[in-house]
C-alpha cells in the first residue's frame, strides 16, 4: 500500500548545523494497518510525515502509494488522497469561515474550479449526521465561524475534514498534543472510531508510549532517521512501556530522550 525505499533527507547540508533527518529509511505498510510511531526528539518522525505528505521532496529514495510513484508529486495533489492532521488545531481549519464552509471545501476537494455553489444543501445534511456522532453539539452550529470553537472541537472538525473525502492514507502528527486531557481523550476516541469504521490505513506519531502500544495494530520506533524497532501482533501485545524503553537503550545505545515521554513515564509510575 505505502512503500518507502531508501528515503534520505538532510537539512542545512554543508553547514555546521547539518542534520540528517532521514537516513535511507525503508518502510512498508499494508492496507488497513494502523501504525503508531514513537521516537526521541529529532528522530525524524515529523520529517517522515512531511516527506510522505509532500511538504518537501526527498534528497534520494522513493515513495509510492498504492503502486503509484508520488516521490515528486506536489503537496496539494497528494492531499487528494492523503489526509493530514497537525498538532496545532489552528492549522487545519479556516477560522473566518463557517463550519459548513470548511467541511464543504474538504468534501469537494476533487471539484476544483467548480462554479457550483460551495455549500450544497444535501451535503450539509450529511455533514450534520457525521458531526452528530461526535456528541459535541457541532451539528447545530453549522453557520458558526470555526474561529469560535475550542481547540478540541476544531481538532475533531479537522479530523472529519481530513477523512470525509475518503483518503487512502491518514497521517496524524501528535494531533491531540495541544489539547487539554479531556479533549485529547475525546479526539482520540473519535480517531479510533473513524479509522476502524472507514478501515483507513493510518500512521500516528505520539509522544505517549502507552497510547502507542494500545492504539493501532503496529508500532515502529525511529532513531536517527531509521526504523530501529518494528513490532506488531503478539510481540506487540506483550510489550510493556518499560520493556520498550529497555529495548530502545539497547538498540540506540542511549536512553530515550524525549521531554514529553519522560513525563508520561513518571506519571505512569513505570
Amino acid at each position: 500500500m505505502l512503500d518507502i525505499t531508501g528515503a534520505s533527507k538532510t537539512f542545512l547540508q554543508g553547514t555546521v548545523n547539518e542534520h540528517v533527518a532521514l537516513n535511507r529509511l525503508d518502510l512498508h505498510l499494508d492496507a488497513g494497518e494502523f501504525v503508531t510511531i514513537v521516537g526521541s526528539n529529532g528522530a525524524g518522525k515529523s520529517t517522515l510525515f512531511n516527506a510522505i505528505g509532500g511538504t518537501f521532496y526527498l534528497d534520494s529514495g522513493r515513495i509510492s502509494l498504492e503502486s503509484r510513484d508520488i516521490t515528486y508529486l506536489t503537496e496539494h495533489k497528494r492531499a487528494a488522497f492523503i489526509g493530514r492532521i497537525f498538532q496545532d488545531p489552528v492549522k487545519g481549519t479556516a477560522p473566518d469561515m463557517t463550519i459548513e464552509e470548511n467541511l464543504s471545501l474538504a468534501y469537494n476537494r476533487r471539484k476544483l474550479f467548480g462554479l457550483n455553489m460551495g455549500v450544497q444543501k444535501k451535503d450539509v445534511v450529511f455533514f450534520r449526521e457525521q458531526l452528530s456522532q461526535f456528541g459535541m453539539g457541532l451539528e447545530d452550529r453549522m453557520k458558526h465561524k470555526v474561529g469560535l470553537l475550542s481547540g478540541g472541537q476544531r481538532q475533531a472538525l479537522t479530523l472529519l475534514m481530513a477523512t470525509i473525502a475518503g483518503p487512502r492514507l491518514l497521517l496524524l502528527d501528535e494531533h491531540t498534543a495541544a489539547l487539554d486531557p479531556a479533549a485529547a481523550e475525546k479526539v482520540m476516541a473519535i480517531t479510533r472510531d473513524i479509522v476502524s469504521r472507514e478501515k483507513l490505513t493510518t500512521m500516528m506519531i505520539t509522544h505517549n508510549i502507552r497510547s502507542a502500544l494500545r492504539t493501532g495494530t503496529r508500532t515502529i520506533m525511529l532513531e536517527d532517521g531509521k526504523v530501529i524497532l518494528d513490532i506488531s501482533g503478539k510481540e506487540r501485545e506483550e510489550m510493556t512501556v518499560s520493556r520498550l524503553m529497555e529495548l530502545y537503550s539497547h538498540k540506540a545505545n542511549k536512553t530515550l530522550d524525549n521531554d514529553r515521554m519522560l513525563l508520561t513515564k513518571d506519571e505512569n509510575g513505570q
Binding site: 496539494h76 487545519g92 464543504s104 471545501l105 467548480g114 460551495g118 455549500v119 475550542s150 481530513a162 495541544a178
Partner: protein, 366 residues
C-alpha cells in the same frame, strides 16, 4: 485510555488565538464609534458653510455618481486586501490601464481617418486587461516568489509604459471626438433623457451587477477556495487546492474590478489621464475602511456592500472637505493617506493604551 498533562506552548497559543479574536470584536466596536464621531464632527464643522452658500445638490449628486464608480475600485481592493490579505499595489497601474483601454476604444481611428467609438467593448476589454495585469502580479508573487508588495510595484511600473502605448504616447486623451458610453446610451433612448439621470443610472447598474456577480462568485466552490486561501493556506493545501492558482485568480479578478472602475470613470469624465492612477490603492483602502466603520467586519457579501458604501461616503467627505476654507484640492491624497493610517493603527494604539493602563493599575496595587 490514560491521558497525561504536560506543559505545551501550543495550548497557550490556541488560548491566545481565542482571546485575540474577542479583542478584535471589541476593537471593531470602538473603532466604529470613533469613526462615527469623526464624521459627525466633520459634518458640524462644515454646517455653517453649507448654510451660507446653500446646499449644493449637484455637488452631492456628482459625489454619489463618482462614489459608485469608485465603488468598483473599492470592490477590487476589498478582494485583495480583506479576502486575500495581500495589499496589492498593481491597482495604481491597472486603474489607469482600464481608463486607457476604455478611452482608446472610444476614439479609435479607422484607416480613412474617421473616428470609431466602441465604448461598451472598450469597457469589457478594460476589464480583461485589468485581469491580465492582476494575473501577472499573481504569477510574480507565486510562481517566481517575488515579495507580494514588490510584485505589485513591478507590474504597476511596467503598466506605465503599456498605458502610454495604448494612449498613443499621449499623457491625456479626450473623448470629445468620439461617442462615449453615456452619450451612446442617451442616443439609444432617444436622445432627450436627462443627462444627469444617465450619469447616475450607469454607475448604479455597474455597481449592482458587480455586487451581485461577486456575491455569487464568492459563495461558489472556487470562491470558498479563494476565501480559505486568504484565511489559512495550510488548510487549503491540505484540502488539495492549489494555493498559487487561487491567489492568481483572486488578484486577477480584483484588478479586473479596478480596471473596470477606471474604464467607467474615463467615460464619465470624458478623458483618460496617465497620472490619474496615482494613489488609487490608498483611495480604495480608505473606502474599504470607511465602509467597515459603518458595517463592521462580517460576511463577504456585507463586505462588498460596505466597500461600495465606503467609496460613496469617501466622495461625500471629499465634497464636504473641499468646502472648508483654506482646504486646497491637492490636500486630498494626504487626507486619504491619513484616514488609512489612523484606521489601520487603531488596534495597535488601543493595545498600547490598554497595556499602559494595566501597568498603571499594577503600580497602584504594588
Amino acid at each position: 485510555m490514560a491521558t497525561f498533562y504536560y506543559p505545551c506552548p501550543r495550548l497557550q497559543s490556541a488560548e491566545r488565538d481565542v482571546s485575540s479574536f474577542k479583542l478584535a470584536e471589541r476593537d471593531v466596536s470602538s473603532f466604529k464609534l470613533a469613526g462615527r464621531v469623526f464624521f459627525l464632527l466633520l459634518f458640524l464643522f462644515t454646517k455653517r458653510k453649507r448654510r451660507e452658500r446653500g446646499f449644493e445638490m449637484t455637488l452631492m449628486v456628482g459625489s454619489l455618481q463618482l462614489g459608485l464608480i469608485y465603488g468598483l475600485l473599492a470592490l477590487g481592493i476589498y478582494i485583495t486586501f480583506r479576502i486575500l490579505g495581500i495589499p496589492d499595489l498593481t491597482a495604481d497601474g491597472s486603474f489607469t490601464l482600464g481608463m486607457s483601454v476604455s478611452a482608446a476604444m472610444t476614439v479609435l481611428q479607422t484607416a480613412d481617418g474617421t473616428v470609431l467609438s466602441l465604448p461598451g467593448l472598450g469597457i469589457f476589454l478594460a476589464f480583461l486587461a485589468g485581469m491580465a495585469a492582476g494575473a501577472v502580479t499573481g504569477c510574480l508573487q507565486t510562481k517566481l516568489g517575488i515579495h507580494p508588495i514588490l510584485s505589485g510595484i513591478l507590474t504597476m511600473s511596467g503598466l506605465y509604459t503599456v498605458n502610454l502605448l495604448i494612449l498613443g504616447s499621449r499623457s491625456n486623451v479626450s473623448l470629445i471626438n468620439g461617442v462615449g458610453l453615456f452619450d451612446s446610451l442617451n442616443l439609444m433612448l432617444g436622445g432627450d433623457v436627462d443627462k444627469n439621470l444617465i450619469r447616475t443610472v450607469i454607475p448604479v447598474l455597474f455597481c449592482v451587477a458587480a455586487f451581485l456577480i461577486l456575491s455569487w462568485f464568492f459563495r461558489t466552490h472556487l470562491g470558498l477556495c479563494i476565501r480559505a486561501t486568504g484565511n489559512n493556506e495550510d488548510m487549503v493545501t491540505a484540502s488539495s487546492i492549489n494555493v498559487d492558482a487561487m491567489k492568481i485568480t483572486a488578484i486577477a479578478i480584483a484588478n479586473g474590478c479596478v480596471a473596470l472602475s477606471g474604464a467607467v470613470l474615463a467615460q464619465y469624465q470624458g478623458y483618460a489621464d496617465l497620472s490619474s492612477g496615482t494613489g488609487t490603492v490608498v483611495v480604495g483602502l480608505a473606502s474599504v475602511i470607511i465602509g467597515e466603520v459603518f458595517f463592521g467586519k462580517r460576511s463577504v457579501v456585507i463586505g462588498f456592500a460596505s466597500a461600495i458604501t465606503g467609496a460613496v461616503i469617501y466622495r461625500f467627505l471629499i465634497a464636504l472637505a473641499l468646502k472648508i476654507d483654506g482646504f486646497p484640492a491637492y490636500a486630498l491624497k494626504l487626507v486619504s493617506a491619513v484616514i488609512v493610517i489612523i484606521a489601520l493603527s487603531i488596534p495597535t494604539v488601543q493595545a498600547k493604551l490598554r497595556f499602559a493602563r494595566q501597568k498603571r493599575e499594577a503600580k497602584q496595587h504594588a
